[in-house]
Amino acid sequence: MSARPQLRVLPGFAEAEPLVSFCGHCAHRPGPAEVGNRVCSNCHLGLIVSAPASVAPTTKEAFLLVDGRMQVCAVSRRAEKLLGSAEVEAVGRPVAEILVPADAEVAGTQSLATTIVHAARGDGTVDNFVLRPVGEWGIRWFTRVGPCGDNAALIVLAPDG
């Protein structure tokens, strides 16, 4: 063995974080008996996906899944109520038609888009944004955006306050 210092591959931050599985519709986390199920056995309406623990939603949080082309892939049951839009209507639409940045002081649309694209590539970390629904003022959500599976970004919405 040479005594010279060598470059070594180290695990990234996102990789080190434990992954949590949850339903893409109701956020139910499968129990040990449900491991391996592709479809949620609680609501039957969502696929089981996984995300780092720091971004994974709880059953009380609304969330959306967005792919690398910035198109909505899934809308949770709570998000349907919060946004007033059924999943079947929202899927396939650009996320910019549904949510826009509401934080005037920091990063704008560009930063949100970059974060989503990076997250959808699986190499992003978890970032926080303040978003609002398109065409609505006076409503804002503190959101966290992070990777979900291999090819999607997860946007978790938490009501202001």
Binding site: G24, H25, H44, L45, L47, V88, V91, G92
Partner: protein
């Protein structure tokens, strides 16, 4: 092409060689592979409850029903969903992709009919039938293709005429292969369409086909013909009347319906593709615009009548007294 020819061969073959297969009480082309709920669920690696939940929320997969009301899924529909689920992030997007895959036959049929290529048109329907029941092939492929041609070229154009005649012929061929009626009653259809180039005529032909395949007999008569009505109705005992189409005037339709009810007793009347403002009364059932839904509503109507029969029809048939035409300004 070979499959379609065999599907529509006029000669009745033995059950062993018949191109059609009876699955439960649903008659399907032999090429259509069907799955029961448990088989479909196992194929997708989900529970039967999950399949039913998808059907309730998304309307997909949309199974047929056997006589015993059991669900029967087409293999093509389930296979398309399985492939889409492998890539998708949500059930909704997977179902959307599966639907797109299944409607891929529509452009093929539109292209064939626009170019007046009969063989290609038959081939497109043959491909559609390999994945779907006849009802779904008609509702998902044939009728949407015809609507697109009408929209693109207009209802008076040559491509529309060609396509409408081909579709009309296709529906007649499919009707010839329907099983013998299993229900002891007849649905009387009062044809209020203009001719076979009337877009409503195709919808009416589809409703007729679905009703026959549902096990009922159908007697279609033009609403313009009153002469000899008694002779025809003497041999049938219609359980319901359907007025289909919007071309004939309300006066003509009313006169014809009155004549029929005079001869047969007070039958329930339903209207199909007659426009919203026309024929809407408290005693008339407005059938859905889609032939499959309309057929289900019609079956429900006739079943209700079987459970609680209205006034029995007259046993003797007499020609109705000629009605005086209403003077119109």
């Amino acid at each position: 092409m070979e499959l379609l020819r065999s599907l529509f061969a006029r000669t009745s073959a033995s059950s062993r060689t018949s191109p059609w297969t009876l699955d439960g009480s649903v008659l399907l082309p032999r090429a259509v592979r069907t799955l029961k709920t448990s088989e479909a669920a196992s194929f997708l690696n989900v529970s039967p409850n999950t399949l039913r939940a998808w059907e309730r929320r998304f309307g997909y997969p949309a199974p047929m029903r056997t006589e015993g009301k059991h669900r029967l899924y087409t293999h093509g529909e389930i296979a398309a969903l399985r492939d889409a689920l492998k890539e998708g992030l949500s059930i909704s997007s997977a179902i959307s992709r599966a639907r797109e895959k299944l409607t891929a036959d529509t452009p093929a049929l539109v292209g064939a009919l626009t170019n007046c290529e009969l063989d290609r048109a038959d081939g497109a329907m043959e491909a559609a039938l390999a994945l779907r029941s006849v009802e779904r092939a008609v509702e998902d492929i044939l009728l949407p293709s015809l609507r697109e041609i009408a929209q693109r070229h207009g209802g008076e154009s040559a491509p529309w005429s060609f396509a409408a005649r081909w579709a009309s012929d296709w529906l007649v061929r499919a009707r010839r292969l329907a099983p013998a009626p299993v229900r002891p009653h007849t649905i009387l259809v009062g044809d209020a369409t203009r001719d076979e180039l009337d877009p409503d005529a195709l919808e009416t032909a589809a409703l007729t086909l679905f009703t026959i395949r549902g096990g009922s007999s159908v007697l279609t008569l033009p609403v313009s013909g009153l002469a000899g009505l008694g002779d025809v109705l003497r041999n049938y005992s219609p359980r319901a009347i359907v007025i289909a189409g919007s071309h004939a005037s309300d006066d003509d339709v009313a006169r014809w319906a009155y004549a029929v009810r005079t001869l047969t007793g007070p039958l329930p009347v339903a209207v199909f593709h007659r426009g919203e403002r026309r024929g809407k009364t408290s005693t008339t059932l407005m059938l859905s615009d889609t032939p499959a839904d309309a057929q289900s509503e019609l079956m429900a109507l006739t079943e209700e009548r079987r459970v609680a029969p209205a006034v029995p029809p007259r046993t003797t048939f007499a020609e109705p007294a000629p009605l005086h035409r209403t003077a119109t300004a």
